[in-house]
């Protein structure tokens, strides 16, 4: 199948009506995703977006590509399944903070460990949006919600967890700076192995604390800091824990590791789904049982 000469933003005009709240940070992320796909010259049919459930997880419906919109917390396993049998697909998992770190926490840890060639975007609005504002694992300490009247009691640092799990690419972007975010996403997609891009995403309906302005006042780009080295794991760990008056964005950590498809022996091969199985091959196994 010959690719088109040029991919443009028109190729990613939404396939369905958008149901996000006006002003939501998700719009900036959507813009960045489309820009990145154009920059990567990826035609829509080359891309598979796998998502869970939540506001973030609806993003694939608002662009144009192959979609597997699965279960809350489970995009990563589904993405691994699809990528393993068809390595020609560029696989991007779209997830919220509840999706990725809460319900999907176990998969998050083990997927980083496996290092499949998948990009994972976590829209971190520090709340559960779709279920109306409950605390998520990244909600700031003490933040009160109807379900957490005494204040949230969670202070997970997902990027630190990612550094500990030896995630081979870790970046953070901000929905208020889509152009910069697009660059991070493109880099993440190009990275061979599992690439985590967490995006600070203001939820204008349920998070009145971590607003555009709140983030704007705090974010800084790591590459503009002196002595910054994304290959330095100890430094990455320190950056991953930084959350207060300053919040780092940019590539936090990067290293090359054997990918899961290299380990499985599927890397560089024809997509497995194109093979035609032959039942008669089983005959060679009968001798084991004779």
């Amino acid at each position: 199948m010959k690719d088109k000469a040029k991919v443009t933003l028109d190729d990613f005009t939404p396939a369905s009506e958008n149901a996000w709240c006006p002003g939501c940070g998700n719009f900036g992320i959507l813009k960045a995703v489309n820009q990145a796909l154009v920059a990567l010259e990826l035609e829509p049919h080359r891309v598979l977006m796998v998502s869970g459930i939540g506001q973030a997880a609806k993003l694939p419906h608002y662009t144009r590509c192959n979609i597997f919109n699965g279960l809350h917390g489970r995009p990563l396993p589904a993405a691994i399944g699809a990528k393993t049998v068809n390595n020609a697909l560029t696989v991007i998992a779209e997830s919220g903070d509840g999706d990725a770190y809460g319900e999907g926490g176990n998969h998050f840890i083990h997927t980083m460990n496996r290092n499949p060639d998948i990009t994972c975007l976590v829209h971190n609005n520090q709340v559960y949006g779709l279920t109306k504002g409950q605390a998520s694992p990244t909600t700031d300490l003490g933040f009160t919600t109807k379900l957490n009247p005494e204040g949230a009691w969670t202070a997970l640092h997902p990027l630190a967890l990612a550094v500990a799990a030896d995630c081979s690419f870790i970046a953070r972007g901000f929905a208020g700076d889509p152009d910069y975010l697009a660059g991070l996403i493109a880099e993440a997609v190009r990275h061979p192995g599992f690439a985590l891009v967490e995006v600070l995403q203001p939820c204008v309906s349920f998070n009145k604390k971590n607003t555009f302005q709140w983030y704007q006042e705090r974010v800084y780009k790591v590459e503009e800091e002196e002595g910054y080295d994304p290959g330095d794991r100890a430094m990455a760990f320190a950056l991953a824990l930084e959350w207060g008056t300053r919040i780092p964005i940019g590539v936090i950590y990067r290293r090359e590791r054997e990918t899961f498809d290299e380990y499985l022996g599927t890397a560089g091969r024809e997509p497995l789904v194109t093979a035609a199985p032959d039942p008669r091959r089983v005959k060679e196994l009968f001798a084991e049982f004779a």
Partner: protein
């Protein structure tokens, strides 16, 4: 005289009773016999008591027998526990070594110092089992060369030195037994012409079925009794270009399989009740996204962790109902290795034809028992991949492709994401024909109906139960899965006692073949439903689907397999047959 010989090997976990059983069984199959071998073990790695039974017949056999003609005791406990099971004229081979056991009461007894014999023959104490195995065959005067061939098969991968040492140890054990054969033991077994048949477990048959069906992706998390399926397939992974992933949990396993199924691979997972419970949300996901996936549910005694290494048919109704919401599925319940192979191939075909999950329900008894089968007919295996867009449409439709197009059959042609230009949009939310989220009532209603229409086509593919009828029967024995072998045998025993008996054996259970079952039951005598569970799930299903109430129920729920003796005893005690 018909041959029906039962050998029981007992010992501690870790003493290798299962491999002794496998060697004996293989030796018998190579001599032209039909073998059924099962195992009884505790959920521990060392110690405790476990045993294997090898039943040897000159006709097909699918069930265990509760009496033994030869008991091979690798420890003292076997003697005390199984002495009473020895048939008149049978023998006890006592090879417990120095830890003596009271074995008065055995009809015939051979004490054999297996360790000393192994060492004297130049082997190691590890070969004591080989000595004991050979002793059993020595008593029967079975062909020694066959045993030597089986030992080569068993130990070949460890090198010829190991094979030779084992054969020498076996020779010594064999000769010792012949020399010291108790005078009262007259049973002999002559090897006949090899039949070319295979000896393999239900799990192995399922794994071979998956390979024959072209399985393209496996993800699982180990749980007894299905782990051997995953292990066997993992061992073939490189040769068959088959990715086999040990997932972090069953939730991941099924979601991986569904992801692979969406991308176009024949995907499967294998688990047991506890893992299946974790998978049920993913099962519903497959139902909603119309993704083919095969799930092997190896039942064991529940609830919760239950009796981890023991058998039960406790999840029939669960398999049929598992998962939230309403969606089509098939549930197959193979009862032996031959059926396990066929059911697995069929499961993949049904899953792809109807774009929906298919459950292959086995149980510990079927999964871990050894069966004798003719080599599977691979020419007869057809791969039915279901409906796909033609290449041209798959490329030209692009973003207009409707993954969930409304059709009369409920089946919408699939396309391969990433290979063709058609954009494939699958959604766990209720969706439009194009696969995008919707909420409107009319589309919802039509989508529900579209999915459920597939159930009609599926029902047409489900085989009715196997029926064996006699004129003017008084009773019909009804069974499913691994209960079929024992039920057939019980039918033979009851017939021998003058009863007229029909049998009705289910190997496929959902969609339930209600009409056929009603017809069968309307023209039989009293119905007796036999199951390895306490609540009578098949009986309940039959009543729900046909309105016919079982007259008598035979249930076993102590974790032990059904047997003809058990069934007949229950019928005599409870129903006065």
């Amino acid at each position: 005289m018909a041959v029906d010989l039962n050998i029981l090997i007992g010992g501690e976990a870790g003493q290798g009773v299962v491999s002794v059983g496998a060697v004996l069984g293989r030796a018998m199959v190579r001599g032209g016999y039909e073998v059924f071998a099962d195992q009884d073990f505790e959920s521990r790695i060392r110690g405790g008591h476990s045993f294997a039974r090898v039943r040897v017949c000159d006709r097909p056999v699918d069930a265990s027998r509760e009496t033994a003609d030869l008991v091979l005791a690798l420890n003292a406990e076997t003697v005390s526990l199984h002495l009473g099971e020895i048939t008149p004229g049978g023998a006890l081979i006592h090879s417990a070594g120095r830890n003596g056991a009271v074995s008065e009461g055995a009809p015939n007894r051979l004490d054999i110092p297996v360790h000393d014999i192994a060492i004297d023959a130049g082997g190691s104490p590890k070969m004591a089992n080989t000595v004991a195995t050979a002793a059993a065959l020595g008593l029967l005067e079975y062909d020694f060369d066959i045993l030597a061939g089986v030992l080569e098969h068993q130990y070949g991968r460890h090198g010829s030195a190991v094979v030779e040492a084992n054969v020498k140890a076996a020779r010594a054990g064999y000769d010792y037994a012949r020399k010291h054969c108790p005078a009262g033991f007259k049973m002999r077994l002559k090897a006949g012409r090899p039949s070319g048949k295979l000896l393999l477990t239900g799990n192995e048959a399922v794994a071979l079925g998956a390979l024959a069906a072209g399985v393209g992706f496996v993800a699982g998390y180990p749980m007894t009794p299905s782990t051997p399926i995953l292990e066997y397939l993992a061992g073939k992974g490189r040769d068959f270009s088959l990715p086999v992933i040990q997932a972090e949990d069953e939730i991941a396993a099924i979601n991986m399989a569904v992801g692979a199924g969406y991308a176009g691979a024949r995907a499967m997972t294998a688990t047991s009740g506890g893992g299946f419970s974790l998978m049920t949300e993913g099962l519903a996901l497959a139902g909603m996204t119309e993704t083919p996936v095969v799930i092997v549910l190896g039942q064991r005694a529940g609830p919760a962790t239950g009796l981890p290494t023991r058998t039960e048919q406790g999840e029939l109704l669960y398999a049929i109902h598992a998962g939230h919401g309403e969606f089509p599925r098939a549930v197959l319940a193979p009862g032996n290795a031959q059926e396990g192979f066929r059911a697995t191939v069929k499961a993949f075909n049904l899953a792809e034809k109807f774009q929906t999950p298919v459950i292959v329900a086995t149980d510990h008894q079927m999964a871990d028992s050894y069966y004798t089968v003719a080599p599977f007919d691979l020419e007869a295996v057809t791969l039915e991949r279901g409906e796909w867009l033609c290449d041209q449409d798959a490329d030209s439709q692009g973003a207009d492709y409707k993954r969930y197009a409304f059709t009369d059959s409920g089946i919408s042609p699939r396309a391969l994401p990433g290979i063709h230009r058609a954009l494939v949009s699958a959604d766990s939310d209720e969706h439009s024909e194009a696969g995008h989220i919707i909420e409107d009532a009319a589309t919802r209603r039509r989508m529900v109906e579209k999915r459920l229409r597939k159930q009609v086509g599926l029902a047409g593919e489900i085989a009715p139960p196997l029926s064996a009828r006699v004129e003017g029967a008084d009773y019909t024995l009804i069974s499913w899965g691994s209960g079929n072998g024992p039920a057939m045998e019980a039918s033979g025993m009851l017939t021998g006692r003058g009863h007229r008996i029909n049998t009705l054996r289910f190997t496929e259970l959902w969609p339930f073949p209600a009409e056929r079952v009603r017809q069968e039951l309307e023209k039989s005598g009293k119905s007796i439903v036999i199951e390895s569970n306490a609540t009578g799930q098949l009986a309940r299903l039959i009543r729900a689907e046909t309105g016919i109430q079982a007259d008598i129920r035979v249930n076993r729920y102590d974790g032990r397999p059904l047997s003809a003796e058990y069934i007949v005893a229950q019928l005599e005690q409870e129903a006065g047959l």
